[in-house]
Symmetry: D2
Amino acid sequence: MSSTYGSKIKISVFGESHGNGIGVVIDGLPAGAAIDRDAVLAQMARRAPGRDKTATPRKESDLPRVLSGMRGDILTGAPLCAVIENTNTRSQDYGNLLAMPRPAHSDYTAYVKYRGANDIRGGGHFSGRITAPLVFAGAVCRQLLERQGVRIAAHIERIGNICDARFDPVSVDPSLMQRLSASSFSLIDGMKEAPMRAEVEAAHTAQDSVGGVIECAVTGLPVGVGEPMFDGMEGAIAQAVFGVPAVKGIEFGAGFALAQMRGSQANDPFRYENGSVVTETNHCGGILGGISDGMPLIFRAAIKPTPSIAMPQKTVDLQTGENAVLEIRGRHDPCIVPRAVPVIEAAAAVAILNLM
Amino acid sequence: MSSTYGSKIKISVFGESHGNGIGVVIDGLPAGAAIDRDAVLAQMARRAPGRDKTATPRKESDLPRVLSGMRGDILTGAPLCAVIENTNTRSQDYGNLLAMPRPAHSDYTAYVKYRGANDIRGGGHFSGRITAPLVFAGAVCRQLLERQGVRIAAHIERIGNICDARFDPVSVDPSLMQRLSASSFSLIDGMKEAPMRAEVEAAHTAQDSVGGVIECAVTGLPVGVGEPMFDGMEGAIAQAVFGVPAVKGIEFGAGFALAQMRGSQANDPFRYENGSVVTETNHCGGILGGISDGMPLIFRAAIKPTPSIAMPQKTVDLQTGENAVLEIRGRHDPCIVPRAVPVIEAAAAVAILNLM
Amino acid sequence: MSSTYGSKIKISVFGESHGNGIGVVIDGLPAGAAIDRDAVLAQMARRAPGRDKTATPRKESDLPRVLSGMRGDILTGAPLCAVIENTNTRSQDYGNLLAMPRPAHSDYTAYVKYRGANDIRGGGHFSGRITAPLVFAGAVCRQLLERQGVRIAAHIERIGNICDARFDPVSVDPSLMQRLSASSFSLIDGMKEAPMRAEVEAAHTAQDSVGGVIECAVTGLPVGVGEPMFDGMEGAIAQAVFGVPAVKGIEFGAGFALAQMRGSQANDPFRYENGSVVTETNHCGGILGGISDGMPLIFRAAIKPTPSIAMPQKTVDLQTGENAVLEIRGRHDPCIVPRAVPVIEAAAAVAILNLM
Amino acid sequence: MSSTYGSKIKISVFGESHGNGIGVVIDGLPAGAAIDRDAVLAQMARRAPGRDKTATPRKESDLPRVLSGMRGDILTGAPLCAVIENTNTRSQDYGNLLAMPRPAHSDYTAYVKYRGANDIRGGGHFSGRITAPLVFAGAVCRQLLERQGVRIAAHIERIGNICDARFDPVSVDPSLMQRLSASSFSLIDGMKEAPMRAEVEAAHTAQDSVGGVIECAVTGLPVGVGEPMFDGMEGAIAQAVFGVPAVKGIEFGAGFALAQMRGSQANDPFRYENGSVVTETNHCGGILGGISDGMPLIFRAAIKPTPSIAMPQKTVDLQTGENAVLEIRGRHDPCIVPRAVPVIEAAAAVAILNLM
């Protein structure tokens, strides 16, 4: 297995949903920087379950304990390790999963890859729960970025058929970003909360789940961050964002819409503005040649519907070798998109700090 | 700069469009394997310019010379280096670019990042030309994959407003794949060639360019390839594919369409078929938890329109510090999508061999 | 900072001597393998302080708690994280070190590098204490190696002026290896224990410390492990072994003695023995071209005397900017060589498993 | 295979002794820096064969051709690739080696590892010849280091039984360093040249070869270069230096002599000198806790005798499966130590620039 990311800032995530604990080691952080622990906890609270009707009723304390790398609130320069104990697990809910892989989960592929030795309870290392240490890491990284003027915020761009507004790609309002990155149901247009919640509730009532899209903006990047080819910003951010379970697509700037554009429309004209070079539009999402151009970096990630649904599903029984029907019990979000917002922000924070 | 990819198979691409030569070092190839050089050249010919009305009239020999790593046609196990000499360059076409960055190109970001020292002629290291060594590397990797039963083929899913058919996600016809991966204008539905060429020609006539989407399928993968989180197949393939200039989005399986689905629709039911576990649908694109599930791996990449267009464009003059208008001369494809098809296949081949 | 090692088996060590805890994340272990926890603890006990007159009286429980990567005694394939809580610390012993760097310690260099923010108590991340998680990692790796027939054992080749016998380089006795790797004062020639202990005691009495050499043998390696140039076995093992504090030299086979040899003496002649290719001598230490040749792999590491000595030492006062005299209190081994033996074995185990 | 080094500065060496060419890709060099090509060639000339009675009579042009990464004499920031064509090879000299591995060479281990597919002619990728691109890379890196005040010089500390003086570890004379790093037979004490050459000639006359030790000093390093544990300066330099064929040992500062010291003798006292912190002695070789302390960094590398000797040697015939006697023809240095001096300097330059 490999759950590490980065070269300058190295993240190593560990843990299984129903093991003793989960956590992260962050290597490469600058000595002497102060970390606001409350701000870290605030980010983790946005991801924590049970805070919202759209989320699973399982409650986690999810309070991380820092074992190393900080003295008081100051980074020592040594690798920072934070651990979250696992409590409140109900493993008996997962009994029949041992033989019957849940559709759209990693159960079957992990079973084959790890020859049945992986810890399937709660999805094991593939659980959405291990995004908690990723949010921790991202919350640390984002504080360091903010001191360099770099801000990150994301919002629910879509749940099912209900869409939020999108960021203005040439000018993202700082106070909007602040509001979004403090919210547990992040929307540009607050009027969309009710219909989105209705969409989720409808899926829940139907013993079903629903997917969505998250849009993320990064502002304040200097020109010149990112490397050519395989270490360009798109690839680096994509690798981090695809590390978040349930992400199945990513696009930068106008993304897939560029396919239907002409160059004269897609190309972002340069212009001087107050002595700085800006672009009049931002179809490239703030990235040219893999390198930041100083405009807002904007990307969207597609989130598939929660795979665990209450209605019966067709699967196989790996012990009997026969087709089977699975009914999943346990506590599952009908829609993980709201809780995934801070996770996407965290992945972006880690990727960008690593490139700077 | 960093133009390297991979851990088990390491690719290091070098070269600038108008330097002495471009090439690639491939480390980690298995000793003793035979490489069909003609098959490699056939792949490179698909990418080579000047073979098609949609492509730039610049002709390149583009014949790679292998400096090391092969004795006759046999891999020695040592790093394989292949070099392509640069000839037929017309650097004078790029004179005014030194001061006026081309919109949607890397000119401006590279100028800032490399403090004006980068070789801007032809885009330098950011040129589409350095996808030639990537195709070389991919052509070697794909031969090794084919011997393990893994096949890769892509096609033009869209140019502008004209769409090809899509792959049947649960069963990709091997003879179709063979036809596609030998074509220089790869389409599932050959009837779409004429309207697509008309779309390109219309853009060309309008001194403009047009974008598109490439869809790629990988079949024959065993269950269990890929690692969790950041080294999952989505992230690994994305990093390689975003290494290809002009790619601005990637989606796996149903991708962004998953956002509008319910779980009951998106989840791919498992079923036994001839003793093997298969899925009845393939919305996940053959990847669960970052790991291959044995079904066809399918992804689509969004390609932006060629940035270099003949019509005048707004830009800045970095020497005078004033706004300016740029007219790009030189030879440029009005649509690079057809030539990008073998490049996307190559990126996929490198990424997948690296994970196996 | 960077305290990570490896590519296939990735080790990430974290912790500071007087922080909340220390530990290690091990990524890349094979799913399904059983780990003998008692055997792991036995290795950790060899390194633990307070078991021997040569060691510091500080007692540590040093019992690692596995947070992830194991279910029962079986590796799940997910990253294994083991944590050791820090207890029994006496930080007040380190008060004056904040201003006065201890000679031959990392205090001064870490102070400059981390701008005074590093945790100096007990040496912080540079403490010999963080070799405990390395021994944990090595103990896991060595069990996996043993199942492939690879054995590792080291002994105290020298303390001060007293030397043990050396391994027979062409044939290392398996029962000797077993005895050594279970001992807390590992010697080939047990008669040397008394004079070595006397050497240590003499240093201790003189408020001084003493260094030594550790010799390590690895048997059962197949031919062909290791890569050319920078990933040869010498370099890979050296990088791991220099990760152990106090190591200042390493040599393979005859090592520095080769400098005084002629080729006719140094070259190890090949010969068939029972159908296998062996060498008659083993001056190369079992490594040719960076690759194992099937003979015992043998190396020696030089260990400097414990830097912390009780007698007054000249240093500087970084606060007053004046020369000063330092008297180190606290608990310190007059000789760490015996306790370093399992650490060197652990470093070798990690390096070799990573290459296989 | 893997012949890559570094993270910030990545070196990828390719080539086989009798293939089409050898070379190196250097990734991560700073854009805009000027490179003195004559100074690069001067370093390569020090390593080139045929310039000295101690060296093989094979003459190589060894003139590197830069394919990319430079425009004129200026680094563009793109990966720098330099290629040296292979000419003047006499492959017929290596006919019987295909079956009979040369003792102390990589022939046998590479044969097994690469299943007979490696290019054995001239040692293939394991040839001392591929140190030429390493010297190229080192010569580029050292120019960049010099502009930051960092100087590197090495000398022949020993050939067989004849020893040169050693560097004064607390103060290495800059003019001495300049002289050494321009010499093709680098000695502190020029009076030792005659006896050393006699030692080599005696070995040559006896159809034999002889080994030696190279001592290297690096001055002008700021305090704080290097990372803890596995990325400490000792490990990083060791990995680079063991990438040089024939190196079998490395020690820093007093190295193995520390084993016989007491702490009171080994510890280097700190003292203020002109407002700077210095150490009165330098037994640690300028490295504490893996991090540079501002004093000269000093290490020694043990070089084994040239394995290829003219006298008959015992080996095996891998085709007949019987013991055999081998007579090596071809051109071989009786002592490679003088030519290895610039190679060791180059390895040090690459390792140190990568850490800075």
